[in-house]
């Protein structure tokens, strides 16, 4: 049955009609069009929404002009490192705001003259590690970061950034002690010249790692102190990332204060990650309609689309046409990622299989594969939920062992098991409820 589901999903408009069935390259007669293709009727019809630039019309125009100028300049001087690095930073910033992996390709493109060197300039190497990290190629990232940190003559900012990025990678991999050691070095006297901001990062990093190892009360207090302390580098409100950290910690502790903290984080950094984090919290709190309002307009990002479909399901039921359409789109995007050999979506795809397609066995396979690579709290939640839903709690034993060893705790793991049990659907619904049926079944 699952196979037929896949077959039918494959027969969807975009993949079959929009591409392959109409893909016979024999040219159609003039004026006629293959089924599924479209020639817009009007010249002023909007056919694609591009990633939005910030600001009013004038500012957006200026930003776009600046990008064009930068590209032109780079084309004229592709070997100019400073220019290339600035373009790479800009691309990463755009990528983070819109959650678009194309920008990682853009980074790689502008740094092409140095990208494949065994010993590229340190800034390039740092950038390369960041790109690898973003592509979930953690080992490749660590190779570059370790090499960087072994260099005796490294500028302080690059060293600090390398330490921090390395700590981040180690944390994702579940090497919490390693990560903590890095943050402790960063908080040390060697980096004092970098000032307040860097120190705040180091302390927040330490607090986060403490919280992941069972010292969450102390960690929450430390993060609150950091958020409330005036900072010379960043006057005004606490930065978004700090509020996000506090929000995520509150979420792990089952503390309702998480909600306002997510909102505060969003106010200063309304990026895809933060949006999705808040959406998850709202979904757990049974407030799907707020999720839909929050995420409207950001559908281009896969994690956003996943949350929208989950919220539609919660708000409108298992046969809502919008939810079914979004589920299908997600399936197509996951398929496309698999075709290009990208397996970095495991956590999200597991949730898609579990909560949208209601296929606990598939969800479990994905969550297990993901857990072999990543050990973040959300990875643990994904595996525990999928294992429970599949009736194979023992498959999540490794999560509990990891939490015992590190001392980690997560309120969602207690609640998540129960929730998984509550929704575990009848077998037919599990296989069929979503992939294809319309609102009418």
């Amino acid at each position: 049955m699952a196979r037929t589901a896949a077959l039918l999903r494959g027969l969807s408009l975009a993949t079959l009609v929009g591409w392959s069935a109409a893909g016979s390259p024999s040219s159609p007669a003039a004026g006629t069009v293959d089924a599924g293709l479209a020639i817009p009727a009007r010249d002023d019809e909007i056919v694609e929404q591009l990633p939005a630039h910030v600001g009013d019309a004038g500012q957006r125009r200026a930003a776009r002009a600046a990008e064009r100028a930068q590209r032109a300049q780079l084309q004229a001087h592709p070997d100019e490192l400073g220019l290339a690095l600035q373009a790479a930073r800009d691309a990463l910033a755009r990528g983070r705001r819109h959650g678009d992996p194309r920008e990682l390709g853009a980074v790689q493109a502008v740094l092409a003259p140095w990208w494949k060197l065994a010993q590229p300039p340190p800034e390039v190497r740092l950038m390369r590690a960041t790109v690898h990290q973003s592509q979930h190629e953690f080992q490749a990232a660590l190779v570059d970061l370790d090499a960087l940190l072994a260099l005796p003559a490294l500028t302080l900012p690059v060293r600090a950034q390398a330490e921090l990025t390395r700590a981040g990678v180690q944390q994702v991999l579940g090497h919490l002690a390693e990560a903590e050691a890095g943050c402790r070095r960063l908080a040390g006297a060697a980096f004092i010249a970098l000032g307040d901001g860097a120190r705040r990062n180091a302390l927040a990093c330490l607090a986060e790692l403490a919280s992941l190892q069972g010292r969450d009360t102390a960690a929450a207090a430390a993060l609150a102190r950091l958020a409330n302390a005036p900072s010379a580098d960043a006057p005004g409100d606490a930065p978004g990332w700090l509020q996000l950290m506090r929000a995520e910690l509150a979420q792990r502790r089952g503390d309702p204060a998480a909600g306002p903290l997510f909102v505060a984080a969003l106010q200063s950094e309304p990026d895809v990650y933060t949006l999705c984090a808040y959406a998850d919290w709202l979904l757990d709190a049974g407030r799907p309609r707020e999720v839909l309002a929050l995420l409207a307009g950001h559908e281009a990002a896969d994690p956003v689309l996943l949350r929208i479909a989950l919220a539609e399901r919660a708000a409108y039921g298992a046969r809502d046409a919008r939810m079914l359409r979004d589920t299908r789109l997600l399936g197509e995007r996951f398929d496309a990622a698999l075709l290009r050999g990208d397996r970095s979506h495991g956590r999200e795809q597991s949730r898609y299989e579990l909560d949208l397609r209601r296929d606990p066995a598939a969800a479990l396979r994905l969550a297990q594969a993901n857990w072999r690579v990543q050990h973040e709290p959300a990875d643990a939640v994904a595996l525990v939920r999928a294992a429970h839903a599949a009736g194979r709690d023992a498959a999540a034993d490794d999560v509990w062992r990891f939490l015992r060893e590190t001392g980690g705790r997560d309120a969602r793991l207690a609640a998540g098991g129960a929730a998984a049990a509550a929704f575990l659907p009848a077998p037919t619904a599990a296989r069929w409820g979503l992939s294809m049926n319309g609102s009418a079944s």
């Binding site: 077959l7 494959g10 929009g18 591409w19 893909g23 040219s27 003039a30 740092l126 294809m436």
Partner: protein
Amino acid sequence: MIRRLLAALALIALAGPAAAHKASDAYVTLRVAGAEISARLDIALRDLDRDLDLDANADDRLSWREVRTRWSDIAALARAGLVPIADGAACTPATPGNTAGAEAPPVLATHSDGRYAVVRLSWRCAAAVQRLDADYRLFARTDPTHRGIVRYARKDGPLQLVVLGPGAGPVRLHLPGLPAVATPVVPDTATAMAAATPQTLAASPAFAPAQATHATQAGASSGLAAFGGFVREGVHHILIGYDHILFLLSLLLPSVWQRRCEADHATGRMRTRWAPATDGRRAFAGVLKVVTAFTLAHSITLALSVFDVVDPPSRWIESTIAGSVVLAALNNVWPLIAEARWKLTFAFGLVHGFGFASALKDAGLAQGDLVSPLLGFNLGVEIGQLCIVGLVLPLAWSSRATRAYRGAFAGGSMAIAGIAALWLVQRAFDLSLIAG
């Protein structure tokens, strides 16, 4: 999370995006016929805008004019992005690009992450193509993470898959029917993996789209399998569609009874009431009429809707379907139409057909080859429906004279009406009260 903890340093703009958008892919279908090679490239407008600055008025949106008027640039970029090499020699472009008004007009296709420009290219090679290599260069200079997802075949043969990274040099495409000689020249591991093992991909569920493609483009046997899939889908749809089942049940429950006039001893007046049917043949004929009416009615609207002749809003349809179940059930308790239930069935069957259509359409089957999915799906619905009838009718017939059946009839009808009323409310007002 620490990996996002980079802001204050302002050295690197921040950690990049975790898995987010769909990455940049182009979809290529390439066919070889003798010395002719033809290809269709679907290229994301987003990618084209980056390289060609399509957004002339810089409003972060692409209008059709902005795309259409740059079509020759788009075609030229596509032309430069894919270079076939036949038996070691380049081939000659057979059409001078695709400009508006020429043989292949500017066309867009919709993929899961947005609109794509569809460019058709063809080449003429020196002789019938024996060995084919593809030099894929699209976006090599602007996005090395871009991939070309290439399906290729000789003439009408089954499509094979290869995923190409840009700027990796020529990669051998193993045309079926010829001995596979060389190993592809491949750039990086991801590409190498995909190029070397199309069969592994074929075994994965992700390849289902391509398999489905084969089913429609090649072999009758796989077409049959696809048809079977639609039949199963139809059966499944009616079996899990509680509203359709309850509608049918409401109509079937009274079929083993008949209306009979008798004197009310308390009041001395005549009144009609339900009594067990005595004439089995007549009861069966009644069932047949109801089932046929339902089948005819929903087939009509299913076809009308799938062929886009009429397309009523789904909220109305869903609400009306729920309403039809309420009325059918209430009609059992307070009969307005007792004997000619098939008329009621026909009227509401029309609405249920629209409901089936939205299921078929949501599965994305409503375009392209319409007839086979439609027939298969409808056949499946009928089979599922007959299963329900076959299950319910014998039971109902054998127990029609019992008190239990009378109780189940009245109670069941009221319960069905109640459930359907709840559906009606939640569908009409977009609420979430109960499942379904």
